[in-house]
Every structure is written in C-alpha cells, then in structure tokens.
Symmetry: C3
Subunit: 409 residues, 3 copies
C-alpha cells in the first residue's frame, strides 16, 4: 500500500504543477520507483493499493501507462484527514488476517532491499532510519533489542538517531482494533498514533536503514538529495545517445536514448541524462546533475548538483548550481543562480511562511514549472520562483516569486 494522496505543500512550487508521487528521481517518478521495489518483493505481495488524493487525475494517468505485473487498486482519499484516515480507507475489504506493507508516498530508499527486510520480518514491523538530525522527525524509542516502544514526534531532547521511515508491515486486524484515535494538534488523524497503540499491546520489530540509504522528500532540497542518493548507485558509463567527439566524460554517467552530447562538452559523473536531451556544445555537467527528457543544456551552460525536469531550456551562458528547475522552464541567456551566501552560512528557504534552514551551505533556486526568466537574470540563494511566472531581463530575484507573477525591475 502506497500513500500517494498528500498535497506536498511544503514542496511548492514543484507541486504546483505535479503531485508529489510524480516528482522525478533520475527522471522517473518517485511512485514508479516505489512500484518497482514492490515488484521486487515478488510473491510476497498479492495486490498493490494506492491511495490517491491531490492531483489524483495525474497520478491515475501515470498508473494507466505503467505496465505492472501486480494487480493495482486505486483508492481515493476524498478528504485529506491524515495518514490514519488514508490507511483505514485503503484496508476496507482486506481480510483481518492479511498483512499490509505500508509505504508513505514521500519515501525514497537508496537500498530498496530494506523493503524486503521489513516484509519478511515475522509479525509487525517498522522501518527506522538513522539520520544526523532527528529533530524534525518522529523518533523511534525501543524496548528490548529491537522492539518499538513508541514513536515520539519531533522530540525537544535528543533521544535517538533512528527515526520513523514511513514504512510498516502490519496485520490488518491490529490496525482495525487500534483505529480509535483522536485528531492531532495539526488537525489530522495520524497513523503513528495507531502504530503506537499497536506497539503498546504487541510486538512491533524495528528494521533499521543505515545512514544515507533513506530519504523522505518533504522539502524542496530533498529532491536534490534523493536524486543524489539514487546517483550514488550509478555504476560505469552507459551511453545510449549520441556523443559527438571531442567530449570528455569522467565517472559514472548514464545518457539515455536519442540524447545528443555535442562537442566540447565536459561531463563529470555521477550524472544522469534522460531521453531526447541536447547538451552542448561547450556545456559542463558536474557531479550530481540530472537532466530529464527533452531538455536542452546549451552553449556555455554549466549544471552542478541540480535536478532539471523535462523540457527545460537553458540555451546559453547560464550557471545552474544546487537548484531544481521544473518542467517546461525557459532560462534566458545569462540567467545565473547563486548558490552560496557571502557569509557562508547555511541557506534558508521560506516554507509555508516559516523560514527553514536547509542545512546546506550551497543551495540555489527552485524554479516552478513553465516559468521563464529573461536574459541576465540573477537568482539569489534559496529563492523560489512560482510556476508560470516571468522574470524580466536583468532582474535580481531576492525573494520568493508567487506563481503566475510577472516580476519587472
């Protein structure tokens, strides 16, 4: 069961034009990765249930084009009443004796075999993930060697480095018999409250994902980090497109079908280039760059640790560093992202009226779908440009630009 209904408001402007499950990791939607992992579980899984909600039509359209061996059932969560509500909607009609493997829609696993580990664990199980800073997560407290005591949301004290990874295997009967919970302070029915109730009456085993093997995609820069995690698994040079000599390619690099790398281009892997992409001449792709289908990285354009979605045009004289550029964006010649503060402090980003520290010293811009920048535009570190917005030539973008906005000097 995949919970793919969430609104992803903290991921704006990325989620202004696509639902969270369709955010691309190496040019493939997150949901497609999750389905592949489940596919990899083989006979352990009888049926895949996907709970959809926000932009459900796009999710369903994607699923209709996905050739899965598993039977897929789509359940609509009409109201966004929380994860518990989503799970309860989804298990309707499932036998009490069945186990369900629940995967939150924002989970990306660098090691998908973790899913198998959870699925094969005897009885109820939960995936924990080791992280550097657990303060923004639900921390897993254990009793005994690996039995869940409780999940504690965003604890003030430092109690453990292992956090709730959003992956569970639970008996349906256990879920149903612990379904009576209250709305949380943020007004939602939280599935963790059900899990805590289950843990208080029975055994829930904790499987732990080592550091760097799990990431949740809840904030814009985590799209960069999830792609980075996926890129770390790239091995060798797999070039299906056409490379015009001379071009220099170092490291692990994938170049998809019908893509063209023009002469005098310099690529330093790990780098992933999708299909029908044009790169160069005289372009540079630095480590941890992902360029998706139909995009153009043109003459004297450099990309570094950035995720470029589909059909983006950066034709001339640009630098895109530590940034996310969504589908259909057009960057004028000389448009440049700044990715480092003068004071070298970590870059902050405004997320739903709160300023959140990204923890990254280098972070550029997030440019929403179909936005356009004019020539010689400058984007300051951490700014977000809304989808369909236009930034006039020569403008220095110092703060977030809402969607469908024209920003003049």
């Amino acid at each position: 069961m995949i919970l793919a209904a969430g609104k992803g408001e903290r991921l704006r402007p990325i989620t202004e034009t696509r639902p969270k499950p369709l955010i691309p990791i190496l040019c493939k939607p997150l949901l497609a990765w999750q389905l592949e992992w489940i596919e990899g579980l083989g006979g352990l899984v009888d049926e895949v249930i996907i709970v959809v909600g926000d932009m459900k039509d796009k999710v369903i359209e994607f699923l209709s084009k996905t050739a899965a061996n598993k039977k897929i059932r789509v359940v609509e969560q009409e109201q966004q009443l929380g994860t518990a509500h989503a799970v309860l909607r989804a298990v309707e009609g499932v036998e009490e004796e069945e186990d369900v493997l629940i995967v939150y829609g924002d989970v990306f696993l660098g090691k998908p075999e973790l899913l198998l580990e959870v699925a094969k664990r005897e009885g109820n199980a939960i995936l924990g993930a080791e992280v550097d800073d657990p303060s923004q997560y639900g921390v897993l407290l254990t009793k005994g060697e690996d039995s869940l005591d409780k999940i504690l949301e965003k604890p003030k004290e430092h109690l453990s480095k292992v956090v709730n990874a959003g992956v569970y295997k639970l008996r349906v009967g256990d879920i149903l018999s612990n379904r009576d919970i209250q709305f949380s302070p943020r007004g939602e029915l939280e599935f963790t409250d059900i899990v805590n109730k289950i843990a208080s009456v029975s055994d829930v085993r904790v499987v732990t994902a080592p550091r760097g093997s799990w990431i949740d995609i809840g904030l814009p820069w985590q799209v960069i980090e999830a792609n980075k995690t996926a890129l770390s698994n790239l091995r060798g040079q797999n070039i299906k497109g056409v490379v015009e000599q001379p071009v220099v390619i170092h490291g692990d690099v994938y170049i998809g079908e019908e893509s063209q790398i023009k002469a005098f281009t310099y690529i330093e892997g790990p780098v992933y280039v999708g299909r029908r992409v044009r790169v160069g001449p005289s372009a540079r792709l630095r480590p941890y760059s992902v360029i998706c289908d139909g995009s153009v990285i043109g003459f004297s354009v450099e990309v570094k640790e950035s995720v470029i979605f589909e059909n983006v045009h950066a034709n001339h004289l640009s630098y895109i560093g530590d940034s996310i550029v969504c589908e259909g964006v057009n960057l004028g010649a000389g448009t440049v992202t700044a990715n480092l503060r003068f004071d070298e402090k970590t870059v902050k980003m405004r997320i739903k009226d709160k300023v959140v520290d990204s923890g990254r010293k280098k972070l550029g811009s997030v440019i929403g779908g179909y936005a356009k920048t004019g020539i010689n535009v400058s984007l300051m570190p951490g700014v977000k440009v809304g989808s369909f917005s236009w930034i006039y030539p020569g403008v220095v973008v110092t703060g977030d630009v809402p969607q469908k906005t024209i920003l003049k000097p």
Copy 2:
C-alpha cells in the same frame, strides 16, 4: 537601370551610416549583387545607369572601386520626388526605341536568372513575386494569362499573392508618352502610376518569381531574411582561412581569406564568414549567421541567424540571436540579446513612429554603426540602438535608443 537613390528611413539605424544600396548580403553590398546580375545578362545590356541620391558620395565611392565590364553612368536625383522622377531623370538622352531594364535598389533575388527572364521577354514586362502576406505591397492584377491589368497598392482585400517585385523592362518611348502623372497621397511621383498607364494602353507581361526567390529590403529584419535567402544558395564547405583544430563544422560553410577559426569553435551552417574575421576560441556560429570582414566573434560568444557587419567586436560571453549588428560596433563582455517574447507573440518594431509586426517569433536587436554596449548589457526583443550610441554597463535596453545617445542606468 538601378534606382539607388532612396533614403531607407525605415531601415534606420542601419541607414544612418550607410546608404541602402551598400547594405551587405553575405558581406557584399546589395548594389554589387545587382551589378553582378546585370553583368550576367551579357550583350543584352549596353549601359548601366545608376540613380543616386541619399549618401551619394558613398555610393559613387563604392562604384569607383568596382571593376565592371559594362559602362556605368551615374545620374544624380537631387530631390527625392519619387521613383517616377528618378526613372525620368535617368532616361534623359536615351533613344525612344531602346528598352530599359529597371531594378529598384532594394530588390534582392535568390534566383538572379529571373532578371534574364524579364529582360528576354518580348515587349514590356514586369516581375511579380509570390509572397505569403501581400497586404503591404503593390499587388499585380492580371488580365488574360499573364498580362498586367494594374498594380494596386496595399489592397484591403486579398486579391492575389503576386506582388510588384520592382523589376521592369519597358520601352523608353512608352515611359515618356505616359509620363504625365499626379503626386500620390504620400507626395511622390510613383513609377507604378506610369506602369499602370502603360498597361492600360498596351501589353505588359508578368514574369512571376516563385516564393522565397525574391525579397525587398525595406525593413530591418529583411536584412536578416535577404542574407538567409543568399545563404540558402551556399553549397559545401569552402574554407579559405585558417581553422585551428579541434573545431567542428557542420553543413554549408564559407570562410573567407585571412580569417581564423580558433579551437573549440562549433559551426553549424549555412554560415558565411568574410575576410580577416576572428572566431573563437570556444565560439558558436549557428545556422544563418553572417560575419563580415574584420569582425571578432570571441570567447564563449554565440551567434544565431544574425548579420554582423564589418569590424564588429563581440569579444566575450555574448549571445547574439536574430539580430543585425552594424559596422564598428563593440559589445561588452556579457552583452546579450533577447530574441523571444515571454508570451511568444511575434516581435514588433517601431518603424518611423509606427509599430510594425515583423511576423517573426524570434527577433533580436538592430544595433547601429559604431555603437558600444558596456558589460552585462541586456537588449530586449525588437529594440534598435542608434549609431554611435553608448549603453552603460548593466543597462536593460527596453526601448529604441536614438543615435549618438548615452544611455545610463
């Protein structure tokens, strides 16, 4: 007879520093092309009469350096009273029984053999040209199969796609006996009025130029289009200058004597490079670029579908797209032209206080002779910079700049 006296006001700023007949097509003045075509008519022509007026000294100076086999007679049109006045001045002293082949000074032919066709046609003849939008031209109405009924200026209704191409063969006696015409609403004596009178009393045969083989150079972007037409005739790679390896050259490309193409340059033809031009290193010339004598297209500079006149310096980090850059211009590092509107509508240009739609979705700037732009200057689509003007660093040019103007932030 070539009518080369016109002022070319609609072609400003190009015509601020050179007369219309000296506008370069593949780095050769329009008048030189016309003389070559006439040369190609061989014994059919006894004498070439050139009517000069605006900047006549420059035209005469050019003629003095032209080694033509034909006898050339220069006639000065002191007052700009219209094309009829120019023709009547020019035929003074020519026998009534002679035929004159009249070519307007703004005519460029992709197929010069059309001139031979007109010249060899029995009796009086006129060249018509098929165009997509005849609304801005004199439309040719015919009677019978190919006999001119009348020339109708800028008809509101769509009557025909064949327009007056500005090329006639007429008996001098017919011109003289139909010379009594009135001043037109715009205050000129129009030669078309004489032609209409001739057509009403005798036969004027219409020879038709197929679409794309004729262009009149009356508006700035037509300089790009005339060069494009000429480039379409380029065949193969004819490289007389020096190419330093590695360089990539695709398509049909001409590189003139003493020109240097430095390493890591990428050329996609059709491209025409004149003499003593320096290109690169790491430059890019895209299709339909023309770079004339003595110019420099330097490091990380990209040119696309543009006409660069003589002795232009674009030394570093520029993008010049769909633009005309006149002689002696200097572009600061980082000067960039925008050539596409955000709304992707066709680009308009201000022509003599009227806004004229170029019909082009991509159109950059027209930069007059000896103008200079500072570093990081941005030029919006369709703007014109007057000759000898200076644009300060960092300025975004959003409207036309008159000649000899200093534009500060």
Copy 3:
C-alpha cells in the same frame, strides 16, 4: 640592504592585506626576487639587512621560511620617518669603510644583472632607469660622462629620461658624514637628499638600466606591468602540472606543480600558472596572465593581462581583463570587468584622493583580498574594491568601494 618598511598606501587595496614586499611577481613575493638577485651577487655580499616596518610580522614570517645562504639581519623601522631614516637605522654598527648596496623595496628589475653592474662599479654608484615619462620620478642630472650631478624630484621641465631607480652602492662613511638633512615638504627624511650631498662632494657613478628593464611598484597597475616584465623573460613551455587533452597552448607558458588544466582550455602565452591551480574546462588564458597558487579559473572564464593572487575563485562565466585580483577573492558567476572606456581615453584611478592617469587605454579593476562579488556583477574600468567587501548580485560598481563594505543595489 633592502628597504622593505614602506606602507604602500598608494597600492591599496592590495596592501590592505599584505605588505608591499610580499606583492607577487609570477607568484613569488617581490622581496624574494630581490633576495635572489642579491644571492646572485655571490661573495660580493657579506650580510643582508632588511628594514621592515609596515606589517613587519608578515615580512618576518616570510623571511623565516626563506632558505637563504646569506646571513639576513632584520632591522625594524619603528617610525616611518622616510628612506634616509631607514638607511641610517640599518647602517648602525656597520663599519665606515664598508660599502652598502641599497635596494628600495618597490624595485623590480627585468634584468637583475644590473644589480651586479652597480655592485661592481668602483666607488659610489647609483642606478638610473630610462623611462618614457620621467615627470613622476626623481630625474638624474649628470656631469661629465656618467657622474651624478643631482637628483631632481618631479621636475616640471623635461631634463632627462633617466630617473632614480632606487638602487645605490655607497660607502657607509659617506652616508654618515652627509647625514644632516632637513625634513622634506612631505615631512620625511629623504635618502635622495643624502645622495645629493654625497654627489656634491664626491663622485657617484650612474649605471643606466635600458627601457623596460626596471619598474617600481608604487601604483596598482604597476603590479600588472612588473608581472608583464617578468613574463617577458619566460622561455618555452614548462609544464609541471597535468594537462588534460584536448587543450591548446601557444607561446611561452609555465604551469606549476599539482596544477590541472582541464580539457577545451585555450592558453596563449606568455602565461604563468602557479601551484595547485585549476583551470577550465573551457577556460581561456590570454597573454600576460598570471594565476597564483590554489586559484581556480573555471568554466568559460577568460583572463587577459591580469594578475590573480592566491586562492582566488572565478568559477564560471567571467571575464577578467587588465585587472588585479587579490588573495582569497571569490567572483560570482557572470562577474565581469570592463577594461576599456567608451571614449577610449586612458583609464584613471583614484589614488589617495587624487585621480591619477594610468596611461593605459585598457585597465580593469583592483579587487582587494577576500572580497566577494555576487553573480552578474559588473566592474567599471579603474574601480577598486576594498578587501573583505561584498558586492551584491547584479550591482554595477562605478566607483571605489572601501574595505569591509557591503555594496547593495
């Protein structure tokens, strides 16, 4: 004896973060060059006395790391009372019968054998240098063939092209017996007054340096010119670092240990690259560029006739022409220097509240140590940016920026 105590105020912002003797010529401090020349004199020299003052700790630290064969004695000039005061402090304890070779701390010799010539000349001697414009120097007037009559400071009339080069060989006894001089109008005890007194009573031979073989480093652009003089002595291609093919290298080029030249880079010598420098990919180094240890000249960055000190980062899409960039500077992507006025007049620079004509038609910026420029910053010809200052993205710097200043739009 080297007079290395001067404050170098006219060299600001360069001297804000380093004393004048540590200004790099081909990435080696001026003082190191002078010590090498003296080393080259062999047995002629018993002891080296270095007078330190301004930022004496940095000079002493440098000396402590210098493995010299000669015995070095450091003398501190506590108060900056002028060159005479410095010399008199330094000769304390030296025998009257000894000769001292005095070298001003700002002297750079393209032909160091001149020092030997002065040292070996019988009796007292002074080095004169032929220059184009002597008006800003002390002019040497002679009597007889080559005997000094007197040194005349900044004469209004044009009396000679040979100026005081700041290099003397004098008997200590002669210095001491002519030590009674007055404070000059600028409030200093000038050593030239002592020399004039010596010349009036005994013979001081003039050795003349031919044009171009001597330069004093008193004004910022003279740092460029001293490096240029040193570069003129470079011969052949001496490449100790790693060059990744394809790269084009023309002319005389030195590339130091552990430096990396990445593919598609174009180098036109004379060029000097220090140690651990990274250049490219797709960079261009034009003649008379010096890039010092640990610096990065990155993607699509062009450097021309400029001196880049240590640990400078110019990572993307910049043009640095006729400029000095001090240690630790970071230039944002798209930062560009202008080096030519629109009116093509020589560039002026503000030096201690006076506007001084550099005599150069091309002169860019002087950027002080650890300054940072944002993306798409434009620097006008002749501007100085103080050390530790920050220039915000998109700003056009039209005047000097003091140190530790944040310049916003």
